[in-house]
């Protein structure tokens, strides 16, 4: 088997005296979708944010492709560490729970900001790519709209397109449907499902168990800052651990 695209090893993080992650390990192959599940406070969002260094772990290693940061190892000098973090970040695109679109820019402006300003790509090329992405998420023709003019579902689809516009190796999605009205959830999940079929490598934090069952190649069930159970989508139909069973029962009953 070839080297996995994503490798997370020994990830640990405390907020003050409260440990949130206590050694999380997993790998993910290119083109797969990994779903992080778990009760609130289990650390799943922190794992995702650590992969983009929005949170700085206390210890552990994160590698995506050939970019890696070993947080346990003290950096030789700060400039080297900054370079490492910048390289790791450039491998992933992030989709936030509440989209965090730039309200002062148009839809198109949101999409080309990273490619043009950070990656230095020519604007016409970035615009062409952005139009294609908007078509892909079903928002062709809304290039000049402001985020505030869009519905919640449309905003989140722009958020996904913005992450894809960076041409990342991995897309990280942090509860992409949790902030949406129920009738808008479907359109966003549909887009994510398409991405999965197109072979994007994704790590998704979600509570949508049925959706997770449809798309995921790997499930990690987190509890108390460690991976309590892991496996293929079957974990979701036939969980072995009691905590996983409890959690799934509660989530499914709530629907």
């Amino acid at each position: 088997m070839s080297t996995p695209l994503i490798e997370v090893h020994g990830l640990a993080k405390s907020f003050g005296d409260t440990p949130v992650l206590r050694g999380v390990d997993f790998t993910a192959a290119s083109g797969t979708a990994t779903v992080l599940l778990g009760p609130s406070g289990s650390g799943k969002t922190t794992v995702l944010r650590s992969m983009n260094v929005l949170e700085t772990p206390d210890a552990g290693l994160v590698r995506i492709g050939d970019a890696s940061v070993d947080f346990g190892e003290l950096p030789g000098d700060k400039a080297t560490r900054r370079r490492e973090i910048r390289a790791l970040r450039s491998r992933s695109g992030m989709v936030f729970q509440s989209h965090h679109l730039f309200p002062h820019k148009t839809v198109l402006g949101n999409l080309i900001e990273g490619p043009v300003q950070v990656q230095g790509r020519p604007e016409d090329e970035a615009v062409a790519d952005a139009r294609q992405l908007l078509e892909q998420v079903g928002l062709a023709g809304r290039e000049d709209a402001r985020p505030a003019d869009l519905s919640g579902g449309q905003q989140q689809r722009v958020g996904i397109a913005r992450a894809l516009a960076l041409k990342p190796d991995v897309v990280l999605l942090d509860e992409p449907t949790s902030a949406l009205d129920p009738e808008l959830v479907g359109e966003v999940l549909g887009v994510v499902r398409d991405l999965s079929q197109q072979g994007w490598t994704m790590v998704i934090v979600t509570h949508e168990v049925r959706f997770a069952r449809d798309v995921c190649d790997q499930v990690l069930f987190l509890d108390g800052g460690v991976v309590a159970e892991r496996g293929s989508a079957e974990v979701l139909t036939d969980p072995q651990h009691e905590r996983t069973q409890q959690f799934l029962r509660r989530v499914l009953e709530a629907r």
């Binding site: 983009n52 929005l54 910048r86 970040r89 450039s90 992933s92 695109g93 992030m94 936030f96 509440s98 965090h100 679109l101 730039f102 309200p103 002062h104 900001e113 990273g114 300003q117 950070v118 990656q119 402001r146 985020p147 505030a148 913005r162 992450a163 960076l166």
Partner: protein, 493 residues
Amino acid sequence: MKTRNRVLAILGVLLGLSALLATPAHADGEGDGRVVRVGTEGTYPPFTFVDPSNEDLTGYDIEVMDAVAKEAGWSEPDYVQSTFDALFPALDAGRIDVIANQVTINPEREARYLFTRPYTYSRGVIVTAADTDDITSLEDLKGLTAAQSETSNWAQVARDAGAKVQSVEGFAQAAELLVQGRVDVIVNDNIAVLDYLASTGSDDIKITGNAGDEISRQALVFPQSQQQLRDQADQALERLGADGTLADISEKYFGADVSVENPDEVDVTTDRDPRSWGEVLQDVAWPMLRGAILGTIPLTAISFVAGLLIGLAVALARMSPSRLLSAPARFYISLIRGTPLLVQLFIFFYGFPQVGLTLPGFLAACLALSLNVGGYAAEIIRASILSVPRGQLEAATTIGMERWQAMRRIVLPQAARIAVPPLSNSLLSLVKDTSLVSVVLVTDLFREAQNAAAFSQQYLPLYMFAALYYWVICFALSVGQGKLEKRLGRYAV
């Protein structure tokens, strides 16, 4: 008499060049054509006032000064107008070379300054409201309140007689306080009082007696460092006295020669008929507009832009994790917000020259106002940056932006929109705060109103008129704010 282009004089102050270039370099005897900077009130008729019909600074002291300059071989003097209490600080700070403003010779002043020979002999008189009969001599002043220019000789006379001094900005204001019953008495020069009575036709106030027996002598006053100028002026005065020039000027204003001891009774019946407030407003409309265009508006614009830049830099420093940056920023904000603007202006204009830093009036005013705006803007900008949701910075980070790039392209544009209403408040305050700059010899629109008020005593219409000017400027700015908000408000978070 010679016409004097006050627009040029104002421009001179504006550019601050005259003040810098006129520093004495050499003076080998007379006739070197130097420009002497003369401090004068311009609000003390008939000695120094602005003639509303042609806007020329004129009066007895001004004509004497012009004659002295000509006789001494100097160029036409550069007049700087200010309140009396600001004249001596300006002389000390080297901003002017001489005061021509009926400065009375007394021992305290003689110890600190150089006087020429006197060109006015007058006596002090006691002035009260028309219905007051029991205040006729200095002995009666004990325990009363007298309205005086704080640093004038007459204030000292009143104080020595046991009166409490209420500080005013000139005789016209003092007379107004007396009429309104806010003070009990004024001690002043008999000529000035007689002129006031003649020109206003007022029977609300009256002269009730002499302030002592002494004849007071008024002369030009120079700083100790200007010995040579003083000597030239003194010799010029001697010659002007001998050839009858002083007597001619004096006759013109007072109907008597007050430039010699024991002058005849003065007759100040003037051709300056009391004018209606309509005429007064008509005459002052253009000078006030010019004061707005050359003073108020550029001061506001320059100080606001500079203040915003300072505010942005200080706000960023204040939010820096480095104490080396945040501590000074905190201190600066606290200092600016914790001290009156007027005090800041005085420190810049009168304080710094004492440690060798003499800035032209306009520049000093701009600096003080900019730093003041900066202190307030810093807190507004900081609060606005903090109110941009944290997720925006995170989103910028995940698309690969460095901190400064994220600040510039993502956070600041959004903070700007939040900051527009409070910053507009600062701008409107600034427009109005510029009226304070008349104390640092900068001519703005309010100074023009004060000039006209001193001459005509039409306080209510003139100050209402000045208020109208400020209101129009502020109204225009509010409209601009509305447009800007609408433009920025096309997106809502």
